[in-house]
Each structure stands twice: as C-alpha cells, then as structure tokens.
C-alpha cells in the first residue's frame, strides 16, 4: 500500500494494449472506449489517496450486453477488470492495481422500473443515490441508505461497498435495501442473485455479493427496496462544551430506548470548516455538536424530540430544533459536505473509518486526538456516533517531507486502538487497498481462507478487481507484484 498523490509516471506498453483496445472498440463501438492518457489518468484514482496502478482502457457500457462483451474481451486477453462508479470511494476500491480494463458504469444511469405498490425499483448501477430518491419522492418514497457522498455516489458503488450513511442507524445499511442483483460474472455470464419474493429460496448469494467490492462480478441491474417517507421528521442540533458530554449524550439517548433515525457528531474544527461553507448557524464555539434526527408519526416524533432535548440538556448541552425543512436541509448539507470542506484546513485528507462500541467512544476519541497530535497532524472528527462509526479525518499536505508516512502510521495506530476495545476495521467505506493489509488484525488465517474460497467460487480466474480486500497470503492475485511494480504510465 502506498499513500500519496496519485501515480503520474510516464512510459509505454503498447502492443498488448492496442489489440485489446481494438477488440473492445469492436465490441462496444469507438464512442464507448477511451484509451487516451487523459481518460486513463483520471480513472487511475478514486476519492482516496491510494493509488498504485494505472487504468487500462476505460469502457462506458450502456447495457448488460456491453458489460458481458467487455468481460469476454478481457478473458481473451487475460486482462483484469475493474468496475468504477462515480469514483467517490475512500478506500481505494476503484483505484486500479496493475493496469486493468476499467468498466465505468456512469452511462448505465437509468431507473428502469418503479413499483410504488411493492416499493421496489429496478435500477442500473450508475444511478446516483440521491437521484433515485429524488425521482421517487413524488410517490412518497426514498432509498434509505444515504452516504455523505449520496449526491454523487452510485447505487452500484453502494452495493459494492455495502455502504452506510447517517440514516442507516435506524434503517440498516445497503444490504437491507437490496432485494436482487443482476450480475455479470467474470466468465461473461449474467445471473440474477436474490429475488423479489419475501423469502427467496436457496443460499443468500445476494447477501454474499453485496459488499464484495467489485471482486465477485459487476452488478448491471439492482432491485432496491424503497422506503416510505416518514410522516414527520425533527432534526435537533445539540452543542456541548466537551466531546465527552456529547458522547455521553449519545449513550444516554440510545440507553433510553429511543432509536433516532440518525445521530451524528462533529468536533469543533469540523464545525468551523462546514460552517464556513453552509452558514447554517452551527455554533463555532462548541467543542462538539450532535445532529440528532427523529422520525415517524407526528405525535411520537414530538415526544421523542422532547426526550432527546431533555437528555441533551441534562448533559449540559444547548439544544436547537430545526424550525423548518429549509433549516433542516442546510444542517444536513453541512454534515454531508464535511469531507470536502476539509480543503479549508489542508490540501490533502485521509478519511478514516472504524467502528467501536458506543461505550468506548470517549476513550477512543481521546486516543485519536493523542495519536494524531503525536504525529504532528491535524484531526477533524465527524462521524456516525449512534452506531460508533468513527471517521477521523486527518488533514495534511502530502508535499511536506514525511507527511505520507506520518499519516499512514497514525492511521494504523487508530485502527489498533479501535480493534483493541472490540471494534472493527471498517464501518462502511470498504476494505479496498486501504485496510487490506490490516485484515489479519481482525481475522484469523482460516477466516481469510474461507473468504478467498468464496471469492474464487465467483471469479475463479481472479480477474475482477484483483489485489483488493484480501491480504497477500490469502489473495488469488499476486498482491506484492501488483503493488510493487507500477505498470507503465498513461502518457507514453
């Protein structure tokens, strides 16, 4: 794993690629294949800072048949294939290793069918998460998983990473909202996993596929569950003089038996950055703020709002309830822009993702600040407090000597602290390359071997997104050589 600015090396490796490009163009048409340096350079990274490889030809299929055709060309040239959505991932899941053919799903962006009665929609993988919710809004429905990047990320990417989001506290993560997936396997065959019945018979291969990070196949159609909009929603902004008080409030709210739709925390530095952008009236002087949302039937929501406010005040918090939809939207815009607003702090960021038991939040947060200070970095904390999903943002400037190494070291220490208190490696960003080499911290060799077996049963040739998730000893790909020898660059 290398942490740093993306690969920008030069070089050439033409013949092999040229024949492959010609076959791709033959199969898809010239308007759906880009083999130039500009397109390949941009497909060589996602929103993370992990980049070891270089994209090969970039394909823009419109249909399942196109994806099948790419897969067959890849097989005939023995080339790896990497699916890519909006490139908003944070674990390097869509950053190539080696020089795979990239399958961009951005043109497969149609909502194919909406069944308002059964609350199911069939969508293509390139549909943007928020676009789907907007499109079904007139029916009083929405797609519940709402990653902070929901205005840009695709449903296909959500499926690949089993993405979460603020509202997954009450509604569950992506897997709970995917009924069936049409998948193109590495053989080129298209299969449907799962089904629309309440209890599809047989093994839950759909469940295995969701979260497989582009290594089992490429989703070409997805049946998603649509969730009815709640009758009433209230959003509370609670501000505290200490992070500990905010964390204690989270514990007390959950302990009281309430299940808020979302419980989000931001520390002072984060509040400052987002407030500069949205001007939503976030209190800059608070050490930490909580954004808590309750929804459901009107009366229940009123009672819950009062209860949350009481608990907050009992912990020394100031409470503000968003007066209308506009104020509510602005508060959420702030929360969901946090990772981009970090540009106001430093030119590079590493957005971490671990989960710890709620009861350990205060302890772990303290350790995070200590670790980051010790490595002479800046930590901004913004996270899903309700389910203990931490997102320390380490802000830095990659051009400072040693900065990348310090970020990597601090990142690892944060992981170790999280695991030591009974946490897990990743909440929702996926493993990708970011956490691959830490998998052994959490899983035994036997665990990892079983995961590798599952992967090989979907993709026996190790063609799809090779070198991700599973560490070297358990990967079908030669991770070390994929990562160590950068392929020739795109500028030939």
């Amino acid at each position: 794993m290398r942490l740093g600015r993306r690969n920008r090396q030069g070089g050439a490796r033409h013949d092999r690629t040229d024949r492959c490009v010609a076959d791709l163009v033959g199969a898809l048409g010239p308007e759906r294949v880009r083999a130039d340096g500009a397109a390949r350079h941009l497909a060589s990274a996602d929103a993370s800072m992990f980049s070891d490889g270089t994209a090969g030809p970039v394909c823009f299929p419109d249909s399942t048949e196109h994806v099948q055709a790419v897969m067959r060309v890849a097989a005939s040239h023995d080339r790896a294939v990497l699916p890519r959505g909006a490139g908003s991932g944070l674990s390097g899941g869509a950053a190539p290793l080696g020089d795979p053919i990239v399958v961009s799903t951005t043109r497969m962006n149609r909502v194919l069918e909406v069944d308002a009665e059964d609350r199911v929609a069939w969508v293509q993988p390139g549909v943007v998460n928020l676009d789907l919710s907007r499109q079904v809004a007139p029916l009083g429905l929405h797609f519940a998983p709402d990653p902070s990047s929901q205005q840009v990320c695709t449903i296909g990417g959500n499926v690949a990473n089993n993405s979460g989001g603020p509202h997954c506290l009450a509604y569950g993560v992506t897997s709970a909202h995917v009924l069936a997936v049409e998948v193109v396997l590495s053989s080129g065959e298209a299969v449907v996993l799962g089904g629309l019945d309440a209890e599809p018979s047989g093994y839950d291969l759909r469940g295995a596929f969701v979260g497989s990070e582009g290594m089992f196949g490429i989703a070409t159609k997805i049946a998603v569950r649509l969730t009815p909009d709640p009758e009433s929603i209230k959003t509370l902004l609670l501000s505290f003089d200490s992070v500990a008080d905010a964390a204690a409030t989270v514990g007390a709210v959950i302990a009281s038996g309430l299940v808020p739709a979302a419980v989000e925390m931001m520390d002072q530095r984060c509040v400052a950055a987002v407030e500069d952008f949205v001007q939503a009236g976030y209190p800059r002087e608070a050490a930490a703020v909580l954004l808590i949302e309750v929804d459901g039937l009107s009366r229940g929501v009123e009672a819950d709002t009062r209860k949350v406010a009481e608990i907050g005040r009992a912990h020394g918090g100031n409470v503000r309830v968003a007066a209308d939809e506009e104020e509510r939207a602005l508060l959420w815009k702030g929360r969901k822009s946090a990772f981009g607003a970090i540009a106001r702090v430093a030119p590079d960021y590493y957005l971490h993702d671990t989960v710890v038991p709620r009861s350990k939040l205060v302890e772990v947060l303290k350790a995070v600040y200590e670790i980051v200070d010790r490595h002479d970095l800046v930590a901004v904390n913004v996270f899903h407090a309700g389910d203990g999903n931490l997102h320390p943002l380490l802000a830095y400037d990659s051009r400072q000597p040693g900065a990348n190494e310090r970020v990597a070291a601090a990142g690892q220490e944060i992981l170790e602290v999280s695991l030591a208190v009974g946490g897990v490696l990743s909440g929702e960003h996926g493993i990708g390359v970011e956490k691959r080499d830490f998998m052994e911290f959490q899983f035994t060799a036997a665990d990892l071997e079983q995961q590798a077996l599952l992967r090989r049963s979907f993709d026996p040739h190790c063609r799809l997104n090779p070198g991700k998730v599973l560490p070297s000893a358990h990967s079908c790909a030669d991770v070390a050589s994929l990562s160590a020898s950068r392929p020739d660059g795109v500028w030939g």
Binding site: R8, A38, H41, G126, V128, A343
Partner: protein, 392 residues
Amino acid sequence: MTDSLGLLGVDQAELDSCVACGLCLPHCPTYRVTGADTHSPRGRIALMRVVDEGIAPLSDEIVESFDSCIQCRACETACPGDVPFGHLLEATKEFVETTQRRAPWWLKLGLRGLTRPRLLRFVSSSLAVAQRLRLVPSRRMGIPERLPVRRRALRPTGDDVWLFTGCVMDAWQRDVHLATKEVVEATGTTVRPTGDAAPCCGALHTHAGLGDDARKLAARVISALDGDNAILVNSAGCGAALKDYGRLLDSDEARAFSERVLDVHEWLADRIDQIEMPDAQARTGGRVAIQDPCHVRHVQGTHMAVRRVLEPFVSELVELDDEGMCCGAGGAFSLVQRQLALDVRDRKTAAIDRAEADVVVSANPGCSMHLAAAGHAVRHPVELIAEALRSR
C-alpha cells in the same frame, strides 16, 4: 502552499485547494451527459495538475477536456472547499490559446466583430434580410431564426444609472433593453444606455482564452463609464464579467468599477415597493418557469432577486426541478461544442416539459436563444414585468 506558478501558469494555491472529493460531479452538466471523468470539474483540475507539473504534454484529449467545459461554474456552488474553478479554467484556456492558438478562425473573427457595434449591427441586419429571403441556414449556423432587421431607438432619459447594453444583445435583443429601461424608470430613476462607447464586456473573449483582448475591452469599458453611477446589467454573462474586472485587471480602479455593477434584478429587488403593483388581472405570462442563467445563479448569486422581482407581476411562477443545471448555451459554447450543447439542452428541455410551463424566463441572451432554438417560448424577466406594468 505557495503562490508560485507551474508550467500552466495558474495559481498553485488555487489548484491545491481541490481535494478531489468529487462533490462537484453531479452538478457538472457535461459530466452528467457523458459520464466521463474528463468532462468533470474534478477531472479537469487533475489534468491541469499533470500539465502544470510537467508530467503530461498538453495533448488533444487534455485540451478537449478543458474545451468541453461550458464554464457554468455550478461546480463552484457545490464545492465545500471554495475552489475557484472558473478562474482556474479561464487561466488554463488562456495558456492553451497563447501556446497553441487553437481557437477556430471564425470564432476569433466573430469575437472581434463584437467589439465593433456598427459593423455588428450592419452584419446582423444583413443577416436578418437574408433570413427573410431564406438565404441563410440559421439553425445550422446556431443563430436565432428571425433576427431583427431594424431596432427601435434606445434613448437616454438622464444620468441616474447606466444601462449596460453590450454587443449581441443590443443587436439582437434591443427590445429587452427597452423593457429594462421602462421597468427601471418605473421606480422614478433616469437611465443612460451605455451604447457604442462600451461596446462589449469581453466575457466571451475571457471564456475563449483570449485574455489580452478581454483585458483591453475591460479597460475600454471602464474608461467609457466613469463616474460613480450604478451600472445595471440585464445579461447574466455580461454582469458576471463586469463584476470580475477587479480581479481581471487587478487594479484599484477596476475594483472600484466592479463595485458599481449590479444585476438589474438585484437593483430592482431593493426598489420593488417604489413600483405601483398591478392587480391580479394584469399579471402576465400564464405559467412561468424560471430558468436561472448560470452566471446569475452560480456566479452572481442573484437568482433569488429575480424571483422576488418577478413574482408580483406574473400569474404563476414555477421552479424547474433540475437544481439550476446549465442549459448548454455557454456563450459561444453552443457554437464550438455543438453536440455537447445539444445533449445538455435535452436535459433542460425535459425539465421545462415536466414543469408544464407556458413560458420560460431567462435573464441571459445566450440561454434564451439556445432554448428558443429548441422550440421553447422564452422571455427575459423584465419583458414580462414591463408588459404587466403596461396593462396596469
């Protein structure tokens, strides 16, 4: 961070302010229609970086990535890090144009023509006559299908405010200037049209990378419009350009000039109670959909003023559901990047159809012509206001 210049000559600190989070992607009209990272703001910035650092040559594909940008600047509104994308792209285009001279000859010739008002009006009227004789393939040339042969005179009534009349708009949409003057005068203010003294704001030159021409035009406009009077602008693109003279010329004089520039709606919004309102029957337009020109919404941020000013005068004001997405006009963009401009317009057309509007209002000549060519009934907001005032 440093302010040093790399090979591309753009400000390093501005380039570094992008952390590549990707929140701009869905707001970019060209990324929306092609799905290609090369057609996204994040992608364009990444390509600026590799050229700037000398890693990649300025290849055809990279230039295409820059040229495919409509310069709507919706990405700036979406950006939580305040990346000055418009400025970066303008500087990049200027670099490309100075080193490679890629702008097509006919574009440069046309842009030069904009700065010569009498010639422009003569050519325009000749074209209009030729259109009547069916000698001109208007649609293929990307010009309005019925240009005016004659223009009604636009006479000054005093010196309270300037009305910036510009180039193409004065030649092709003089009626909008007349309506603007009428509405501004309804507040008890006298108006002096800028006319031929300040022939063109230079926005299109800046967008095409012709920085020297743009700076010369800016200096000419500033010296022609001296004094302290407010300068009202009814074209979104011109308003945005005039407000940017301070940065463009980087002088105190230019900054003071830019301070005087106001979008006409933002000026009217503060004086709306000085106008006698029409009663309900006099309201015009039927169901009116607002299409925000990008340089009103994303650059000047005066789109709410348009609503405040227009609302009392029309029967029903409706919003489009596309979050202020560009219509694809982009000044000369619709001429140089025809297919992209049409693909982007298709999305706008769909939004307008969903709104089931009788008429679309747009406060920018480029947008209104581009939308009219798709068969929409398009008016400038002030035209509807003027009509309502007349029927009081």
